[in-house]
């Protein structure tokens, strides 16, 4: 594996340098150290050459030139140390690159692979890409819808979470439009294919992520920008020194001292310590180069369902109608739903259990896809389902009852109506509660310097506004498709904001990839969101977001201090070299002291 080549280089060169230490004083010392420097230095020299061809003066160039100079003047340990430290750092960076790409792969893994096409009375299974527009595909429970199209027959509950982020399945029937990537949770559908293959909504979602990842400007690390002027200055000065003094030894000493180990480790030590601290708090930051961006965030966009809310529907209101009380209503609902795997059934059964309400025995039972459940009991026929379900079974609602339903709907609740023996018994309102820490998090974001918060959600405007108002979010954009979310993030970026996006769903993945900083919910989030993210919150603790921003700033501050210190020491030493007050051995001692100071300074970040 290419990826491990650098690790092998570090191990081999490290072993050689170690062996050299043991043979210190013998002639083998310089040979082994030189060998270590050559092995570790070769990949660096290639990077330096690549950079030069692009007219970039890079740290690898400085390391290469300094290592060559060090070998020339027999400071082989310095050559080995500087090259080894650099290769180790770049190996760690490669690991983060692989993780970015995993996002796209996990999405492609999720795409519908096969389709059942109806030909006459036969069902033929083909690759999803091979379905032609105009053909009819059959979708059975558990299938992913392979095309975008229109339902021609059947009914089913479709999990559209991949496209909308909403955990509650949509009930669809003839005439309804369905999108590829939705998963059938029950029922039977025949769908007339309209958009197929690369044109489907799910394929376009994948391309959106791919495009966003390609277009995301590569953040140039602080050290790279610094190298752009530091490297040529040091090299040019060394050359000038040689031209004026004709003293090769002096010029090379200058060059070697100009490329200190302290400069090469300044950033990695601070970053590794800081990321370790973050990880202990449940904040996973994928790479050091993202820290600078995270510290600059001034606008945060948030997904609603699963991010601000828990993403798990719960019973939030129980309204019995005439002749029933809360307990009897819950008993009826739990009785009818006890065998169901319907999404609302789980919420109802959990709630009943919490209140100690036990379901009664059921005789005959059936589920009408897209409508609700019907159960025959000793007390009569129980219905639990939507309004259409009651109407279909001849149950009429009184105006007062209609008003109660309308009020619950206005609260943004999904309604499960219960009827017994042909008469309405009451309703259960089900909704997705806001995470308890969400409000405090938004306050802390403001204190961390975030000036504006914007909700981007695939949910309806009413439900979105409800949550936004309760939490004090500045702006709401509702009913957004994955592509709309990307457009919203782009627009906010175009206004000059450094935009962070917090999300959890597959539908958030393209917007996450587009945002300057992507933050995913690690516990409940989908693989696609987690892999595209720069920051992942383990156990979904939202209050960690402001902490991540503050910690990133601290890490960057320490990186700058370290680089400043390394350079200050170098400048003093170089002044000494030029005025012939500092010689190689003394200079190296100060060098090593500065490495230790830089490491200790970086380690401060391990403490909270």
């Amino acid at each position: 594996m290419m990826r491990h080549r650098k690790l092998i280089v570090v191990a081999a060169a490290g072993a050689l340098a170690g062996a050299a230490w043991m043979l210190k004083g013998s002639p083998a010392y310089d040979v082994l150290m030189t060998l270590a420097a050559v092995i570790a230095g070769f990949p660096i020299a290639r990077l330096a050459w690549d950079g030069l061809r692009n007219r970039a003066f890079t740290i690898p160039l400085l390391v290469t030139v300094a290592a060559l100079g060090a070998i020339w003047i027999r400071e082989t340990w310095e050559a080995a140390a500087v090259t080894l430290l650099y290769v180790l750092g770049s190996y760690l960076e490669d690991l983060t690159l692989e993780r970015t790409r995993a996002a796209l792969r996990s999405l492609i893994d999720l795409r519908p692979r096969t389709a059942r096409i109806k030909r006459g009375d036969d069902l033929v299974e083909v690759a999803a890409d091979e379905v032609a527009a105009g053909e009819t595909v059959v979708v059975r429970p558990g299938d992913r819808v392979p095309v975008d199209g229109q339902v021609t027959a059947g009914r089913a509950a479709l999990d559209t979470a991949a496209l909308t982020g909403e955990p509650l399945p949509a009930e669809v029937g003839p005439g309804d439009r369905v999108l590829s990537g939705s998963v059938s949770q029950g029922g039977y559908l025949e769908v007339l294919a309209e958009r197929v293959g690369a044109d489907t909504t799910f394929s376009r979602l994948i391309y959106l992520v791919a495009e966003a990842q390609e277009q995301k400007p590569k953040v140039q690390r602080f050290l790279d920008r610094f190298a752009q002027w530091y490297t040529p200055t040091v090299i040019a000065t060394a050359v000038a020194l040689f031209l004026f003094t004709r003293d090769v030894e002096l010029a090379l000493t200058f060059l070697v001292i100009g490329c200190p180990g302290a400069l090469v480790v300044a950033a990695p030590v601070a970053v590794v310590a800081g990321l370790g601290n973050a990880a202990r708090r449940g904040i996973l930051i994928k790479g050091g180069e993202r820290l600078e961006r995270i510290g600059k965030v001034d606008l945060v966009t948030l997904d609603k369902t699963g991010t601000l809310t828990q993403g798990r529907p719960q019973v939030t209101s129980v309204v019995p109608f005439g002749g029933h009380d809360t307990t009897s209503l819950l008993t009826l609902a739990a009785t009818a739903e006890q065998r169901s795997e319907h999404h609302l059934a789980a919420a109802i059964l959990t709630y009943a259990k919490e209140l100690g309400v036990a379901p009664s025995p059921v005789g005959e039972w059936r589920l009408d896809p897209g409508l609700g459940a019907v159960a025959l009991t000793e007390r009569g026929e129980i219905l639990v389902g939507n309004r259409r379900h009651l109407t279909a079974n001849g149950v009429a609602l009184a105006p007062a009852e209609e008003a109660v339903i309308a009020a619950a709907e206005a609260r943004g609740e999904t309604i499960a109506l219960v009827a017994l023996g042909g008469r309405p018994a009451g309703l259960l309102g089900i909704s997705d509660p806001v995470r308890p820490e969400a409000r405090a998090m938004l306050g802390a974001l403001r204190r961390a310097g975030v000036r504006r918060t914007v909700m981007l959600t695939g949910d309806h405007a009413a439900a979105a506004r409800q949550v936004a108002t309760a939490l004090g979010i500045d702006e709401v954009r509702a009913g957004l498709s994955p592509a709309d979310k990307v457009a919203a993030v782009r627009e906010l970026q175009a206004r000059g904001h450094v935009v962070a996006m917090i999300g959890d769903g597959i539908n958030d993945a393209p917007a996450l990839a587009t945002a300057d900083v992507a933050i995913a919910m690690g516990g409940s989030g989908t693989q696609a969101a987690i892999e595209v993210a720069d920051v992942t919150l383990m156990s979904d603790r939202l209050e960690r977001v402001p902490e991540a921003i503050a910690l990133s700033r601290r890490i960057m501050a320490v990186v700058r201090q370290n680089v400043a210190l390394a350079v200050a020491v170098v400048l003093l030493l170089l002044a000494g070299v030029v005025t012939r007050r500092v010689f190689l051995s003394g200079g190296m001692l100060v060098h090593e002291a500065s490495v230790i100071i830089v490491i200790l300074n970086g380690m401060r970040l391990l403490r909270s």
């Binding site: 893994d109 293959g197 690369a198 791919a210």
Partner: protein, 74 residues
């Protein structure tokens, strides 16, 4: 014309991607070949009458790279 997005494993150096891009672009029947380094993908558009996916995969293999998956391209 067939368009495909070919996902590559272990593409770690940008210049390796550039070489693969040039080599695949030279295949007879290839209309366009582009390596996206950030996502580790090779985007190709080619004439199926002259070129097969297997031939493209051979060239990828010759460059020391592996294909993890392919999907229809845009």
């Amino acid at each position: 014309m067939k368009r495909q997005m070919i996902m590559l494993a272990n593409l770690t150096c940008p210049s390796c991607g550039g070489k693969l891009e040039q080599a695949t672009a030279k295949l007879p029947g290839m209309k366009s070949a582009r390596v996206a380094f950030g996502t580790g993908a090779l985007h190709v558009e080619y004439d199926e009458a002259q070129l097969t996916e297997a031939q493209i995969r051979t060239v990828i293999k010759q460059h020391g790279l592996d294909v993890t998956m392919t999907m229809a391209g845009k």
